[in-house]
Chain length 454, copies 2
């Protein structure tokens, strides 16, 4: 029993083999919510596909919704286009688009062909947008009513189509004129107390605030900071309503970006990695980052190669080279993290290099003096040579100032050139600070070689 | 004019000096939303305080709401308790509690004393909770109605108190029995089509799903994965309703945790750092992390000190020590990032050490072979000595396997001991891999010293 509890996927696998729909559903419902994703992701990928086809498309869609896009896509990939299409038809439009964008173009096209034509049109329209603009974050499920409608018309439609609207997040309805141009927003709760014959045009908020479909994520965040709305209608260049962006979609996307910045800074690039993915794909993606890093590392270490004579004469320096390299990296990365945060919060403009430089350099002096004194003391105490302490202490201090100055400004510079600061800041920082650190230690040492080599 | 546009805070400062309420409001409203927070954070901290007291409490509260808690608290700190209390009275209860928790206990108490007594009771109740459990994430603004009420009673109350409820996020009302015990949930849209005399007990969903006030963030995330609700009522141990947790509060808290993990992994500890904070505070917080790191670094480098003779004989090795140290750190951090992600998604249980070890070690063999071959080739080509290539190549390969194995498992181990993996994984990883890397290179080299020292 203990073994079964620890590995619920063994039992699930058996049920899938028997294609026992009712038993599978009952099993999944009995499992704690936290264990469902883990249990399914431990199944062989073919079994995950078979699990989806064993269920009704609607239940399968609910299940797919529990997974991150990359995982959901790898499950959907196992299915015939028709089976995949039946499941996608049951997903909200935004999820359809996210999922399709994770698939190979050919496979996505085959699924779109097999989907319900109305759903496919919506999914295609959303797929055309980048994922971090209003068009890519919006929902295509929203209520529109003609400006000629009355409260009675609206209430009638709400009653008739209650089933269809149940999954909508209904708080506003949008009032449109000719060619679906947005002319007003109706708060549904305002209908509660209105007389049934009132034209909705009298109740609506006219000339509502909207965002363009091309509005980027950062501006949407600013928008929701400035407005206490739960959602905002999205219009295209002609003023036609094309969707609705909800506040929580923006918050979720920003949170996801923060977590993704973390992964990128740690060298997980080219998309999310989960340990259920194929070994060679995981290895290749990690190597793509490591191989750039090793080349940069070899460049930096070539500074040491150029000073071999100095190093042979004062071998104790070899002990301090990795310390200075690593500590400069740490100090610089702290400054990178603060700049990334201030950029996210909109507290720093990417042109304010001098301000950041000033703030970091002063801090660098304090921290550099502290760390320099510490390492100088260790060196002096160890070898009994104050000049050794002086060399490594000065090098540590100077390189800390360099590291925090570069660390603070490099994300701003990268952003101005439209490069991804989370990705590129680390390698650039450590390469430059390694080189400068090695140069300062070994340069100072060769200048003072007669005091050091005793 | 260009200078003014670039530094809007100069003009704002002038208006604050004149205490011209209308001009300040007009100025802030004319500023692009993205620039408001930046402009204000550039003011001297006393001016920020004066800005708040120049505005009506309600406008000041709107302004405070634009800032992260640490920043908002430093503005509020400038004010007399009465002025601060007037602003806090205008904030939603969850924001009151977050803000108060950022202040010194004494100051928070003084403000609570000066607040509206009803608001203060609510703020105190919320402040008692940790920020990452349901009690700390919930809103205290929600609608309750007695089980004896009818649809007419509810609609009447909604109409009468429309102003008060305007800031509530009204989609559900909660039906309570004696002692505020929760007995049902009422979807407000169900009222739309109901006859006015119907008792709400007939419309409500009885025995609604609830969460306990002590439910942790991860479980709330699982809850909202499993249930398509927008919000869930929070009850205490007696079944009394104490608040409502919204899905987007959970998403926001998770996103904030991801971003905070990123900062911690980069050595920003002891709370958020913004460059507007006092220099010595920033320096001290960063040093608290760096000083631990430098001690660990010195420990690791002591391995080199023990092998000085080998290093003097084969000085070329000194070039490869920082490369192996840095690359092992990179490889290990990739594994850390994947484990952090899988833990967040609930795809790995902290007891599954062996599974992660197996997955990482196999990947480590492939990446270790690749990187080892690369660095061996460089060493051989540089010095023309195949044995040098062999030593550094084997060391790189072995240490890559060690690094990914430790990197993958250490977050799981730290989590089991209730330590913060984002904070501690990096330093532990690099210390261990530095030591093992130095030991392997220098140990192998001293074993093959007659082949290397030529």
């Amino acid at each position: 029993m203990v073994a079964t509890d620890d590995r619920p996927w063994d039992q699930l696998r058996e049920l899938i083999g028997q294609r026992d729909r009712a038993a599978i559903l009952a099993f999944l419902e009995a499992l704690p919510a936290a264990d469902v994703a883990r249990a399914i992701s431990r199944l062989p990928i073919e079994d995950q596909g078979q699990l989806l086809t064993s269920l009704e498309p609607e239940d399968a869609a609910d299940l797919v919704d529990c997974f991150v896009d990359a995982q959901a896509a790898s499950m959907i990939e196992q299915l015939a286009p028709e089976a995949a299409a039946a499941i996608l038809d049951e997903l909200p439009s935004a999820d359809q688009a996210d999922l399709l964008s994770e698939l190979e173009d050919e496979q996505a096209e085959a699924i779109l062909q097999a989907m319900d034509p109305v759903e496919a049109v919506g999914a295609r329209a959303l797929s055309a947008y980048d994922h971090d603009v209003a068009g890519g974050l919006m929902l295509a499920e929203y209520l529109t009513f003609s400006r000629a409608a009355t409260v009675r018309d609206v209430l009638g439609d709400l009653g008739e189509s209650a089933d269809k609207y149940r999954d909508y997040d209904v708080q506003y309805a949008y009032v449109v004129g000719t060619r679906n141009r947005l002319v007003g927003v109706l708060r549904l709760r305002d209908l509660l107390l209105a007389r049934r014959g009132t034209p909705i045009e009298e109740l609506m908020i006219a000339d509502p605030v909207t965002v363009l479909d091309s509005t980027p994520l950062e501006e949407l965040d600013d928008f929701f900071d400035a407005h206490h709305f739960i959602a905002v209608p999205v219009v295209d260049g002609q003023g036609t309503i094309v969707g609705v962006v909800r506040r929580n979609a923006v918050e979720e996307a920003l949170g996801e970006r923060g977590a993704s910045d973390y992964r990128k800074s740690q060298g997980i690039v080219g998309g999310e990695e989960l340990r259920t993915m194929p070994l060679l794909l995981r290895s290749r993606r990690r190597l793509s980052w490591l191989s750039i890093n090793i080349v940069l590392n070899i460049c930096a270490a070539s500074i040491i190669a150029m000073h071999q004579d100095t190093l042979t004469a004062v071998i104790a320096l070899a002990v301090f080279l990795p310390i200075i390299s690593d500590m400069s990296g740490c100090s610089g990365n702290q400054a990178v993290a603060v700049s990334m945060r201030e950029m996210t919060l909109g507290l720093v403009d990417s042109r304010e290099l001098l301000r950041v430089l000033g703030k970091e350099a002063t801090l660098g002096v304090i921290n550099g003096l502290t760390l320099g004194a510490l390492v100088a003391g260790v060196a002096w105490a160890w070898k009994g040579n104050p000049y050794l302490g002086l060399v490594v202490g000065i090098a540590m201090m100077a390189n800390t100032i360099i590291a925090v100055s570069i660390g603070g400004t490099i994300p701003l510079i990268l952003k101005r050139f439209n490069l991804d600061p989370a990705l590129a800041s680390g390698p650039i920082l450590t390469t430059v600070t390694d080189m400068s650190g090695f140069m300062i230690v070994l340069g100072l040492a060769s200048a003072m070689i007669d005091k050091l080599a005793v």
